[in-house]
């Protein structure tokens, strides 16, 4: 029905598809493997570790700091400060964190979120 070439070797277009496919695979490795997804969240208030939480869940946490209660929301692999009693709201503006090593800190309320994964790309963050 469909007359394809009888040549045994791949055709010009085949090579093109193979090359584009290879580039796509390399691109996927580069973009998706450079940031390892995190699996756990560590929350600290002042010098205490409040707890280590599984990131793979949907959960709202309320943590008390010197200014009051900060709302933290975990949503299937990512976490953010949802509400904070601080003035400048830098922590809320940080948005979602999803990769190992990412950190969000609310200095006024002394609460820090840190994502822990199998391959943490660094020991500490320069900011």
């Amino acid at each position: 029905m469909i007359k394809f070439s009888r040549d045994r070797k791949p055709l010009l277009g085949d090579w093109l598809v193979i090359v584009i496919g290879a580039i796509a695979v390399i691109y996927l490795f580069q973009t998706l493997w450079s940031n390892a997804p995190a699996s756990q969240l560590q929350i600290r208030q002042a010098d205490k570790i409040i707890g280590t939480y599984d990131l793979n869940q949907t959960r709202e946490l309320h943590i008390h700091g010197p200014l009051g209660e900060s709302h933290i929301s975990i949503d299937q692999g990512k976490v953010r400060f949802k509400q904070s009693p601080c003035t400048n709201q830098y922590c809320v503006h940080q948005g979602w964190l999803a990769h190992a090593g990412q950190v969000a800190i609310c200095l006024p309320n002394q609460i820090s979120l840190q994502l822990i994964g199998e391959n943490k790309p660094y020991d500490s963050l320069n900011y």
Binding site: S5, R6, P10, G13, D14, L16, V17, G21, L32, G77
Partner: protein, 181 residues
């Protein structure tokens, strides 16, 4: 199948089948066999499989056209899952979504100029579409977690390799069948 004619006589219903129908039926049986064989053998990486049954789909597409290929592919998915006892289980849904997306890719790709694109291209595109369909189900339904993205490059790489290999095998099959006829 498309060429079968059903004649209703007064006493019985007989289905007149062509030689092509027999050939297609044999190919479908072969595809089911390959599918089951692959399901039984353990894979070194869970989820990564060569998908040799797709060679049959591609072969039928070239020899008998898209409609027949779609029938063979879907029949294989349903029959194999019934044989393996996976019917309507997540494994079946994964199989089906992969097959549907890969058929969609083939439907589009069959219009590519034949002078430049052989069955190898079709095989690679189908393999990528197959994995895309499966990952979509995994991400949306089975593991709704951002961590799945970590696996995408591995599956994509496997799809490229097996896509090329299956395409080359299929091309040889087509060539030899032409030589016979």
């Amino acid at each position: 199948m498309t060429r079968s004619t059903i004649k209703k006589t007064s006493k019985s219903t007989s289905i007149q089948t062509t030689k092509a129908d027999h050939h297609i039926a044999k190919l479908t049986a072969l595809a089911i066999g390959l599918h089951v064989l692959e399901a039984v053998f353990p894979s070194p990486l869970p989820g990564v499989k060569p998908g040799i049954a797709n060679i049959i789909t591609l072969y039928v597409l070239i020899q008998y056209g898209f409609g027949t290929a779609a029938w063979v592919s879907l029949l294989r998915v349903f029959a194999s899952s019934l044989l393996l006892g996976h019917f309507l289980s997540p494994t079946f849904v994964l199989s089906l979504s992969g097959a549907l997306l890969s058929l969609a890719a083939l439907w589009l790709a069959q219009h590519l100029p034949k002078r430049y694109f052989s069955v190898i291209t079709l095989s690679i595109l189908a393999a990528f579409a197959h994995i895309a369909g499966q990952l979509l189900i995994v991400r949306l339904w089975l593991i709704p977690h951002a961590g799945v993205s970590y696996l995408i490059p591995i599956f994509a790489f496997a799809a490229l390799v097996f896509g090329i290999v299956n395409g080359v095998i299929c091309k040889r099959l087509i060539n030899s069948s032409h030589q016979i006829s």
